[in-house]
Structure formats: structure tokens, C-alpha cells
Amino acid sequence: MAILEINDEEQETVNTQNDGEGDALAVDAEFAIDEFLHAEQAKDLLRFSTAGSVDDGKSTLIGRLLYDSRNVYEDQVRAVTGVATSSTGSTNSGIDFALLTDGLRAEREQGITIDVAYRYFSTQRRKFIIADTPGHEQYTRNMATGASTADLAIILIDARKGILTQSKRHAFISSLLGIRHIVAAVNKMDLVGYSEEVYRGIESDLRELVGRSFAAANGDVGGGPTHGQVLAMDGAPGFGGELTVIPVSALEGDNVVDRSVNMPWYDGPTLLEHLENVPVGVTDSTVAFRLPVQRVIRPDQNYRGFAGQIAAGVIRKGDEIVALPSGLRSRVASITTFDGDLDEARAPMSIALTLEDERDISRGDVIVAPEGQPHHATAIEAAVVWFDGTRLETHKPYLLKHGPQTVSARVTQVLYRNNIETLEHEAVPSLGMNDVGAVEVHVVRPLFFDAYAENRATGNFILIDPATNATVAAGMIRRGISGEAWKTKHKPALVFVPEERADAVELALLGDDVPVVRTKVKTPRVLQALLAAGVVVLIEGLAVVEEEHAIDAMELTEEALLERLRS
């Protein structure tokens, strides 16, 4: 309820103007609320994430932000005032700020923040959504969850300790998830005597760290120290961002909402000032119009609307569009909404389009601008955060959800795992819970996508394990992998041939550019892996494997076999 101040101010004005005149006061109060609603209407929205543990004073910082900006209700303050055992030991002014934000019973009992908690507050300028995430290593996945929708990330540093592993993890995850605005709040400045020297040392370390994090998020290994505020902005596609460092004391309130009198050497913004002034709504996307179709709305024969949330760009009535994957073109006949047709709509509005021509478009298709179409591929390279307790298995079937489309997918290769401490690439065969790395993914139908760095909404995906229905990973597409053409020409198969014909069949297939592997191993896992790689597997002997891809070539000529592989 930050709006409290506005209201108070307005009441005050009203009182001055209408001394003793009750009726006039009521009229003016109504006028004031109209003005208030008008101002409220104009507010934009900033989503930010925080990460850290109780030790960093993260909950205290958020509590302080809410309390000092008057976003805490009186009954909530009463509920946490004078609590005998405080999880943080913060006893200042009798209010345990951390308890304003620590939600679940289990968390309160253990004194830690386990899951992502969302908080809402507003000031006269802006509305804010905080995704408050835990900082511990075992909760990297929650950190990624919070970061996925954030425009800005606050990384909390304990001034006494400097940069810890957890700060590194958060900086890296934030850059990986494409957050452009990174704020480092160097907290507990009161405990280092508000020392500028301590702060400058940490600030310099932070610039180096964030520079390396952005480099690593783009797939690079190292990256040297970065000077100035702008990092990795050149050379698209790639993540770039801005780092702002602020010395604060959440416990004492220095530079959170109110300017500190204890650090005259700091002339930058307070945390809240920065949050209020960071540009938002300035789209980070560099791509043209994209509408992933969620649903076809067809109440009767006269109306066929393609409904979805615009994932990038702008569309106007009359614009030419291309529907993918069909490639068919048409023009926008109308942009339909409940509130009437629009002449123009932009990301991220949810709308429905009708087209001038009857086109067969269904859920999972994407309607795009003819100029600047998305990439397409059946194999992609992507950064992933592994969520699940069950490790990644290469060649196991997963479901990949990309926008409204869900396709069967296999991770064919783990390219590397990022060491969270050093950000270096480690060669590993698999990824486990809370691991971050890069993988190659093959899908059964082409994906139409943009690189995540170019457009978050068309460059992201999740992986679901169809056996458990668990969401096992979040992925950020870097690029499509070329050289896929031959895979669409022949389908992968297990071909059983008599031993004496194996050489001839192999030569015939190779002659037709079919990738062939000969093996005597009949382990299902190995065969699955080969099929997933898109090759034709020649097995000498009788057809013994019950598999949809199995072809018994005993009775087939080479030509007939090639025909079947092409079908």
C-alpha cells in the first residue's frame, strides 16, 4: 500500500481547501480518487528477482523495502513485532523485517527460504513484482524459476564476506536467463563501519564477475575484467547487460529507500530510486512479429480466429503474414478483442487474428511477419538448467514444450557443464539436479524459434519427462544445428538382413547417402541411441527386436528397402 502517501497527501490538501465544509470535502475526495486512478492507470510494471540466504539479510532487505516504502499492512507488522525468537537476530525497532516475507511454516521452522515467493508492492511511479528466491546451491532451480520472468535481478553481497559462491551462482543464472539489469546490493555496510575502501574492493570484484557471467551465459569460457557499466553489448546475438552497485544496510535502512547519512562518499541512487528509474517495457527483443497460436476460436462458420499472446513485434490490420510451418501467406483481416477490433497490437498482448484467406492453421503453429522469419531446425544447441532429481539421460524420450507446441525430443549430447565457481566448461556425460550446462537436442518436428538472446518468448523451452510428468529442465536456445537435411530424407530404422546380404545392402544404402551403422549389439539402449542419432542400423540375422522402427529386409530388395526408408 505505497499509495498510502498519495492518499494522505490528498486528504491533507482537501482539508486545507475545505476547512469545516463536510460536503465539499466529499466531492473533492471523489475528484482526488479520479486523479489517483488516472495516475494508477499510467503505472508500468517492473519484475525483479532476488536471491540470497537469511545470512545475507535478503529477507530483511525486502522487508525493509516494503516497510520503508509503506507497503506493509499494520496487521502484518503486528504479527511479526516482538517475536521472541527471530530467525535473523534482527531486533532493531522491535520489527523482524525478515518475518514479513518468510512464508511457509517449514521455512520458518528451519529459518531458511525454500521456494520462490512472489511479493507485490508499488510506489507512486511503478508497480513491482518480486520473485524472492533462495540462494542455496540445492535451490538453483528455484533461482532460475524466479529469474525467468524478471527484468532485473538484485544480487545480495554481505560486505563482511565479499563475493561468495552463492553470489556467483546468482550472477550467472541471471545472465543465463537473459536479465539485462543486474543490481548488486552490498549489504551490512554498518558492520564494516560504512567503509568506502571495503565497498570499492567488492565493487571492482563484482564488475569482473558480472562481465564473466555474461560471457559464460553466451557460451564463452572466460572473459576478462570489464570496465564501465555496459557489458557485452556489442556483437549480437548475445546477452548484454548493465551492472549497478549500491552500498546498503537493510537492517539500518541505509540507501534502501532513504538516502544514507553514513556514506557521504556514495553519490549513486538508493535501491528504490534505481528500481523506479530502470527502463522497462523497452523491448529487449530484436525480432519481428511472432504469434504462436494457442487456440483456434471458431464459434460459427463465419469466424475463424487464431488466438495467442504476441511473442514479439507489432501487427496491424492489413499486414501480410506467413503461417509456419505451412509457409502459406495471407493478410490480417482483423485483430479481434472483446473490447472491439484493434488497428494495431503488440507484444505481449493476448489477441486473436482473422485472415483474409482460409488457411489451415492450428495450435502450435506460428504466425510471423514475412520479413525476418524465425529460424527452423530439428536439432538445436541450448543452455539448460536441470531441475529434476533424476539425471538427464541422453537418447531417452522427453517432451519439449516450446510456446504452445509440444514435441517429442531427445538430448543427444551434453556439450558441457558450467562450473558455477569458475564458470569453466566441464566435460560430463550427464546433468544432475541444479546443474547448468549446454546440450544438443533433437526433435521429431522442426522447431520455429529465435535465439533466446534475441527473443526470450520464442527462444525458450521446458523438457518434461513423459514417464513421471515432471518438468525436468528449462532450456534457452542458442542456435539451430545445420546439416540436418539428410535426416529428413531417410527415416532412422533397424534393418534386419541375412548375413550374406549385409555388405550389398550396406553399399546400396551408402550409395543413396543413407547414414548406415552395422552392429551385432542388440542392447535396446544402444539401438535407441543410434535411432535417435538418425541413422539406419543394419543388424545381421533374424528380426528379433519388437520395435516400431524395425524393418525385416529378409524378403526386400535393396530398391524396396530404400523405398521404405524414404516413406
Partner: protein, 327 residues
């Protein structure tokens, strides 16, 4: 802290910051307001659910959040009809004005309304005075809800809960997985990234969907105002018969809520949130228009659920209810 100081400093800071941000003004004109952003997000959620589930349903509680949810559903499928029914879990103790409003609205809009009551418990005389609020809610709300969902075989149920309402709700996913018993495990929630919702479930399991997760109470009122959404008249102040007990105003509606001599009075009052008449406290108020309600709200210094008698039973009572299957 003085507001004007922050404002002045922020203004200074804007000047500083603008040096590096020359090119933001053109993009600013194309910016969506927070309500437009919230609306777009909610509509996307409705469309995902309608596409991915076999048999979704919208839990309709008749309150202001349900009214907003209903409008968003209309928008999501316009010009088509809402492709799922509404389910009202009727405890039998709702205000009569709520039931009238529900029946009129669903008739006017041609909505498919299902009503579910725990008739057996009501026959056995379940009420909050006889059983206590926790047991009464357990039978008439939670059990009725789970039975209603099971009886119709719904695999997804929209609810109007918002994360800003209560601390355990702050951690709820937008797609909130429920096991075969309809229960919520806060320690084992599915990760939820971007707007990619995992709708896959096994038979008997279900998903509760909260399209208003990111709306605040003020957003809801503001939207009702700008969209001119009809709401139950109980939200508007008028002279009402109340049992005045300490700071509480208990509406006179059910005969089993007994008053002491002198407690029953006419009070100019309204309800801030709608529930069962014996357990929903009213507030003294003059707010008889939506702008006045908003004016009152922004001056409010206690959170919305503080006048819900039911939440005071034990610390963390909402989390316990949610684990058991309540919304």
C-alpha cells in the same frame, strides 16, 4: 521517511540516468500499462488450460476475484463462448444476495453453472457455531470442493486466488499440481518458468490454475472499475443489520448466530471480501461506489483477509487448509 524527499531525489536521479538512456522515449509510447500486462498474462493462461486439459472447470465463488476471472475468460475466448462450465461450491451459508447475483448473472450470460453442496453434512447440522470454523470449513468447503471436482471428473480447476492475499499463497504456482487426494505439497512443486506451463497429469491427478496470481487487491478493484464489471451489492456500503461485538461486525443472516441483548444494530457497512455470512466480518464504511471503495482501500492499513474470522484459528492456518485441498 518523507515522501517528498524520495521524490526529489528520484527526480535528480532521473536526470543522471537519462544521460545514458537517450533512446527510451520512443519505446515508452508503446509501453503497456500494468493492467494490460496482467490481462494479457491471464488470457494466455486461460487459453493454455482450455487447449491442454480434457475437462476444465472454473471455480466460481461469486466474489470480486471471480467476477474479474469471469471477464478474463470471456475475453480469452471472444467471440466464442467460454468453453468450460462454472462450479460454485455452495456451503449453504452464503449471503442470499450472493446467490441472487449468481443466478441472475449466469442466466444473462448464458453460462453453464454447476452447484455442489455437501448435503449430508448440512443435513447433519454442520455449522461454524456447532463445529468450530475449522471443521465446518473442512466439511462444507474442502470436502465439498474435492467431491464436486471428483464427481464431475474435472482435471483442471481455475481459482481466483492471488499471491498477495496470504503468505503461503505467495509461493503457489500458477499451475498448481494436486495429487489423487487433491492435496498440495508445498515442498514438491513443479518448477514453473516463463509462461510455459506443464499440464501433464496422470489419471486422478489434477491441476489448480490461478490466472490472477500476479494481481493485487488494488489491481482487481481498478480493473472492475475500468471494465465496468458487475459485482455483488454487498461490497457497497448501506445500512445493514449487524451484530456489533467488540471491533467485529457480524451480519445478521443465519439464526444460529446468536446475539446478546443490544448487540444487534443498524450499521452503515459493507463487506470487503465475501464468504459465509457467519464467518465474514463486515466493516464500517461509507463507500457506496467503486472509486470510494478504492479510496478506502488505499487508505486501508490492514490486509484483506484480516476480517476473515476463519484465518485466525492458528498461525499458518491457510497453509494447512491448502495442503488438505482447499483453495
Amino acid at each position: 521517511m518523507s515522501v517528498s524527499t524520495v521524490e526529489d531525489q528520484a527526480a535528480v536521479n532521473t536526470v543522471d540516468a537519462s544521460l545514458g538512456q537517450q533512446n527510451t522515449s520512443s519505446a515508452t509510447s508503446a509501453r503497456l500499462s500494468h493492467l494490460q500486462l496482467l490481462e494479457a498474462e491471464s488470457i494466455q493462461i486461460f487459453r493454455e488450460v482450455a487447449a491442454e486439459f480434457q475437462k476444465p472447470v472454473m471455480l466460481y465463488s461469486i466474489g470480486k476475484d471471480s467476477s474479474v476471472m469471469l471477464r478474463l475468460a470471456q475475453k480469452a475466448f471472444y467471440p466464442g463462448p467460454i468453453p468450460f462450465p462454472l462450479l460454485h461450491v455452495d456451503t449453504g451459508y452464503k449471503f442470499h444476495e450472493m446467490i441472487e447475483f449468481r443466478d441472475n448473472l449466469t442466466r444473462e450470460l448464458g453460462l453453464d453453472l454447476k452447484v455442489w453442496r455437501n448435503e449430508q453434512a448440512l443435513l447433519d447440522g454442520a455449522n461454524p457455531v456447532a463445529l468450530g470454523t475449522q471443521r465446518c470449513c473442512g466439511l462444507l468447503k474442502t470436502t465439498a470442493l474435492l467431491d464436486g471436482l471428483r464427481a464431475h471428473g474435472y482435471d483442471a480447476a481455475f481459482g481466483g486466488a492471488r499471491r498477495d492475499e496470504e503468505k503461503s499463497r505467495a509461493k503457489e504456482r500458477i499451475f498448481s499440481f494436486r495429487d489423487k487426494a487433491g492435496q498440495w505439497d508445498p515442498k514438491n512443486q513443479r518448477p514453473e518458468v516463463w509462461n510455459l506451463y506443464n499440464a501433464r497429469i496422470s489419471p486422478g491427478e489434477s491441476i489448480r490454475v490461478f490466472p490472477l496470481s500476479n494481481w493485487t487487491e488494488l489491481d482487481v478493484w481498478h480493473y472492475i472499475y475500468t471494465e465496468n464489471i458487475p459485482i455483488v451489492p454487498l461490497y457497497f456500503a448501506k445500512e445493514r443489520r449487524m451484530i456489533v461485538r467488540g471491533d467485529s461486525l457480524i451480519p445478521v443472516e443465519q439464526s444460529f448466530v446468536k446475539s446478546l441483548p443490544g448487540e444487534e444494530q443498524w450499521v452503515r457497512s459493507r463487506l470487503r471480501s465475501l464468504g459465509c455470512s457467519p464467518c465474514t466480518g463486515a466493516i464500517r464504511s461509507d463507500a457506496d461506489t467503486i472509486p470510494k471503495i478504492i479510496a478506502e482501500l488505499v487508505g486501508f492499513r490492514s490486509s484483506e483477509r484480516a476480517n476473515r474470522v476463519i484465518d485466525h484459528d492458528t498461525d499458518g492456518s491457510m497453509e494447512i487448509k491448502k495442503r488438505e485441498g482447499y483453495f
